[in-house]
Amino acid sequence: MGVEQKLGNLGIVTTTLETTVNWARTNAMWPMLFGLACCAIEMMSAQAADYDMSRFGMELMRPSPRQSDLMIVAGRVSRKMAPVLRRLYDQMPEPKWVIAMGDCASCGGVFNNYAVVQGVDEVVPVDVYVAGCPPRPEALIHGVVTLFEKVKGEKFKDLVKA
């Protein structure tokens, strides 16, 4: 079909712009350096020597929301922290993704009480939930890879806001 057959073995690959852009996004996703509680320590482990998340193009943690694509909500979100978290999310440029790391960020975890937001999806839209208290670094990496799968299937028209 089409151009590949005509050109023969010239080392040319055809693809769509969408696929290329999504491929590029998954290989250089910059997470925000933003730890809340216990899970942040496991997030640090995932960045450090043994697990080395930079294998997935994620060695660059940006402390500024303006420069990051991915927010990893690592830990319990208190009612005092929730507005701050939302503001950080709003400050991130599009396109942006959120991983809820750990049980507390996903659903409140063991803390079913007055102080903790019962799942960060009350505050920001979440793409991937990672279970565990705290999740092992492998689990976080699996969550990130799952997010990459999602990003690879994204369509441009879905990203355009009406």
């Binding site: 809340l36 216990c38 482990s45 402390p63 102080a115």
Partner: protein, 411 residues
């Protein structure tokens, strides 16, 4: 865009906390945190700055308030223990120990010697793991990136040991009232011996990189001086207090869990600056390793939990054959054990200082009141005094040297 433009912080609500110069606009108020890589969590510092010099520093805490104490009051004594892991998340074994010691004191339960020795080994390993995170992250704050990678490499070995004994890397819940959860597996001794063998060389490596490094010295010597009197006034404990020349370590002054049997030194420095705190903590790494080695050599054989069936669940093998054991098991896991109407306080030396638990029983299976005396809270209270007159960059070094954990402060 206008909504998120840099906004000047109004002096109004902070009028009573800042100097006169802030009111006239001579100095500037600046927010640091709650999302900042060097606040080691979600701490907000309101800074009053004269150029780059810190005039006032007002900590604003509570961004990680979790309601742990209230949650614990709604659970039985056994089930409340899972909450303790999540308080000071660098010192999970230590939190477990402080809590189970309080429960044991409340219900008057004795612990067999093997369990005591295991507790000592594991809390000392936890102290090393905690200091490693501190060393790695404060190295990161002062632009020594490689320290972070080295320290986490060694920390993984300790976490593997924890996983071996409890099944979890961080939230271990391994110590239980009356002993420990189960006996350690056979691989435990070899794993700890391996760590004892390799770790001293690794400490030498860290020291070779940092202790005499001119950049490290420039950033640390003479920065954030804390004198002993101020430290005592503010209730500062742990390595911060010992770096200011006060020889106070609960493992020596009020021994618990059999610490009096072990031979170790308490490192004390007199300068009280950021560098002194670094030296104290690095020495503690070596001392903790000494304790681990002694405890492992002397590790007695025998049961790992008390055989008082009113408080400790029976082994699985008994439940099938003994009616009593079945009843005890059922009572313990449905109702819990009742504790007398009394109040106790028990404290341990955590990596950050005196970690205390106040427990009040009301005769039922749930605590009436639980309160935690957490070292980071008191250690942070002194920060506004010791950063005055230093540069913002020095504030980073000082904050790193206090080794605060926000989960410990906000609870």
């Amino acid at each position: 865009m206008s909504e998120y433009q840099l906004q000047e912080i109004p002096v109004g609500p902070y009028r009573h906390l800042v100097s006169e110069r802030a009111v006239s606009g001579e100095t500037m108020l600046l927010n640091m945190g709650p999302q900042h890589p060097s606040t080691h969590g979600v701490l907000r510092l309101l800074l009053e700055l004269d150029g780059e010099v810190v005039v006032n520093c007002i900590p604003d805490i509570g961004f990680l308030h979790t309601g742990v104490e209230k949650n614990m009051e709604a659970k039985t004594y056994q089930k409340a223990e899972v909450m303790t892991d999540r308080l000071d998340y660098m010192n999970n074994m230590g939190n477990n120990l402080a809590y189970v010691m309080a429960v044991e004191k409340l219900v008057d339960l004795d612990v067999p010697p093997r369990a005591q020795a295991l507790r000592v080994i594991l809390t000392e390993l936890q102290r090393i793991a905690s200091h490693l995170v501190w060393l790695g992250t404060s190295g990161l704050d002062l632009a020594a990136m490689s320290m972070f990678l080295y320290c986490f490499r060694e920390r993984e070995i300790i976490l593997d040991i924890f996983e071996l004994v409890s099944g979890q890397r961080m939230m271990v819940t391994y110590f239980r009232p009356g002993g420990v959860w189960r006996d350690v597996p056979v691989e435990f001794e070899a794993a700890v011996r391996n760590f004892i063998k390799i770790f001293p060389k690794r400490i030498d490596e860290y020291e070779a990189l940092l202790t005499k490094n001119p950049l490290w010295l420039d950033r640390m010597v003479g920065i954030g001086k804390l004198d002993a009197a101020t430290a005592l006034q503010h209730g500062v404990t742990g390595p911060m207090l010992r770096a200011s020349g006060v020889n106070w370590d609960l493992r020596k002054t009020r021994p618990y869990a059999g610490y009096e049997q072990y031979d170790f030194n308490v490192p004390v420095e007199t300068k009280g600056d950021t560098y002194a705190r670094y030296i104290v903590r690095v020495q503690e790494l070596r001392e903790s390793l000494k304790i681990v080695e002694q405890a492992l050599n002397k590790l007695p054989l025998g049961p790992v939990h008390s055989d008082n069936r009113k408080f400790v669940p029976p082994p699985r093998s008994e439940i099938g054959t003994s009616m009593e054991a079945l009843i005890h098991h059922f009572k313990l896991w449905t109702e819990g054990f009742p504790a007398p109407k009394a109040s106790v306080y028990s404290a341990i030396e955590s990596p950050r200082g005196e970690l205390g638990v106040y427990l009040e029983g009301d005769g039922g299976p749930k605590p009436y009141r639980v309160h935690w005396r957490t070292p980071s809270f008191d250690n942070l209270s002194v920060i506004s005094k010791i950063v005055k007159g230093h540069l913002v960059a020095d504030l980073i070094a000082i904050l790193a040297s206090t080794d605060i954990v926000l989960g410990d402060i906000d609870r």
